[in-house]
Amino acid sequence: MDVLKKVPIKEQDPQVRAHNFDEVCLGYELEEAMEEASRCIQCKNPKCVSGCPVSIDIPGFIKEVENNNIEAAFKIISDYSALPAVCGRVCPQETQCEQVCIRGIKGDPVSIGKLERFVADWARNHNIKPEPPKEKNGKKVAVIGSGPAGLTCAGELAKLGYDVTIFEALHEPGGVLLYGIPEFRLPKEEVVKAEINNVISLGVKIETNVIIGRSTTIDELMEDEGFEAVFIGSGAGLPKFMGIPGENANGVFSANEYLTRNNLMKAYDTSYDTPIITGKRVAVVGGGNVAMDAARTALRLGADVTVVYRRSEAELPARVEEVHHAKEEGIKFKLLTNPTEILVNEDGWVSGMRCVEMELGEPDESGRRRPVVKKDSEFVMELDTVIMSLGTSPNPLISSTTEGLEINKWKCIIADEETGLTTREGVFAGGDAVTGAATVILAMGAGKAAAKGIHEYLTSK
């Protein structure tokens, strides 16, 4: 074994997986996990922990894996995270825990994410669940939204003995984990549902089909229903469009619509009634994780797919692993390219997309080099489907129906980073609703911080 290299992990063959929705990465076997765990040098001052937004005791759980005490490893992780099988799969590890791992200075960092995933999968397969709290304190807390922020906040509060109810607008819990991230990256029944069930087994109740701001309001929850505090984890679900001509033509979708049809409504499964336009030639506009997911979904539905992004490869915001997987599967990339108009045929359907080429100029506020239009570079791509994946912003439904809840100019809820407290007494918030579209683990970190904030608020009240 070469200690400088990660123990390789099995993946579905690109040619095969391009035609199915089964998971791409197949995970470690026990021996492989133990071998990978032995690469960790158990740093006295583990850098990796500071790279993890929820500060998982990484050397602690890895030690247990190395010694084949997987149940003990799971107990350690569970103290910090309610969704390890999810995070082990979708966390941008390479820029978090693994980026600062000492092993990474010379050679590959320890495969922390894949080990975390292994432990969580093993625990699930051996039916090991986190333990419910011994005592209840009888205080009611409402959580809005069942994405990672809401689930984490609810789970932490339940562990402290609170009586927690999650209100979810859709018919199934999970937020983006359910409707956004596709099956081939995050299996729904096996992984997402199982981890949500773990949160439920802590005593959390989940009420689906309730839209806060319409079905009921925060004021009513607090005044009429006896909830002493509320956590808002409603995410950033409102899709952005470019505002270019032709964008409302038939065959132009937001990534959210395309992915929701396929994930939440299971359009790929013919036993469901959901319609989806598969398209023959598809362009996905954008370069984030969402764009990769939309592109790889369209590919699996049988389309020829090109990702169109206005900066260069180095600036692609998606995880390196996702870009790599997308390329392996046959997705094409048209970089330094920006659409200016969607061409529409006489029946109202997309027939093409007018684009310009870009080049990188001076750095902008984000520190990335600003793309500028190259002169006389206009060209047309022939297409029948365009998927817009330009990011999302928080939905104003809750802020506009809750007096005293302030938002900033990006429509994000203003909340204290340490405690999650908003401008409204007893109301806390965290996750994408506060930060704008970010990551699963940051949303979880915020949910956890807010649970602490709520606990302090209710014990001092």
Partner: protein, 280 residues
Amino acid sequence: MFRIIKKKELNPTVTLMEVEAPLIAKKAQPGQFVILRTDEGGERIPLTIADYNREQGTVTIIYQIVGATTRILNSMSVGDCLQDFVGPLGRPTVTEGKKKVAVVGGGVGCAIAYPVVKKFHEQGTKVHAIIGFRSNELVILEEEFRSNSSKLVLMSDDGSCGEKGLVTDALKKLIESGEQYDEVITIGPLIMMKYVSMLTKQYGIKTVASMNPIMIDGTGMCGGCRLSVGGKTQFACVDGPEFNGHEIDFDEAIARSDMYKEFEQKKQDEACKLYQKEVS
């Protein structure tokens, strides 16, 4: 659970159902809608809240059987439960501050128009209802409209009931005869709403059209329900469903409403083939 407690056929393709949904009944207002799913494999479809009973905790829906989901819905009976029923969604109709209005409904759109007419009538606004159907056997809610409006004009394409002609003919006649409306509210097929809006524009009468684009979540998350209003993109489920009829791009909305036609048709054909196979 969302139990069906009443089912009544209004005409051969339109059915009324009363559903137990106390939380929605408590909040519902005219102009709002629900999204339902009949069963696990089903689609989410939006239907307007045609009526509600806050005391009994029930919501009435009236639907036309047009495709797979409405057909499955129609195969359910009293006592059965719907899988999901969420609402009330959308912004309520603004009914305040008007002295006299005309409500123009077409076909099953009359089911959507009815709670609006009723609300106006109850609050003392003078309301003229103009309702149109293709023919006699498709007429719904005639009595309800009659007892909740100060004037009812019934139109039919073939003259088999009411007057022969289009709802726009009736509206035009009323306006020409000197009736002055603060607002016209129109609900029905897109093409009808387009012509109503064109007509009222000539007379400078403020017009509100209730749009029914294809929806999924109904919370502003997917953007599938978007339409152009005054050159700006709006999401019907959260910004609407009612918009200024003079600003809506109806042609775009008509094209978008056909987006899944081919797909739905194929699904339906498959279902029919399967059915025939099972029968033979």
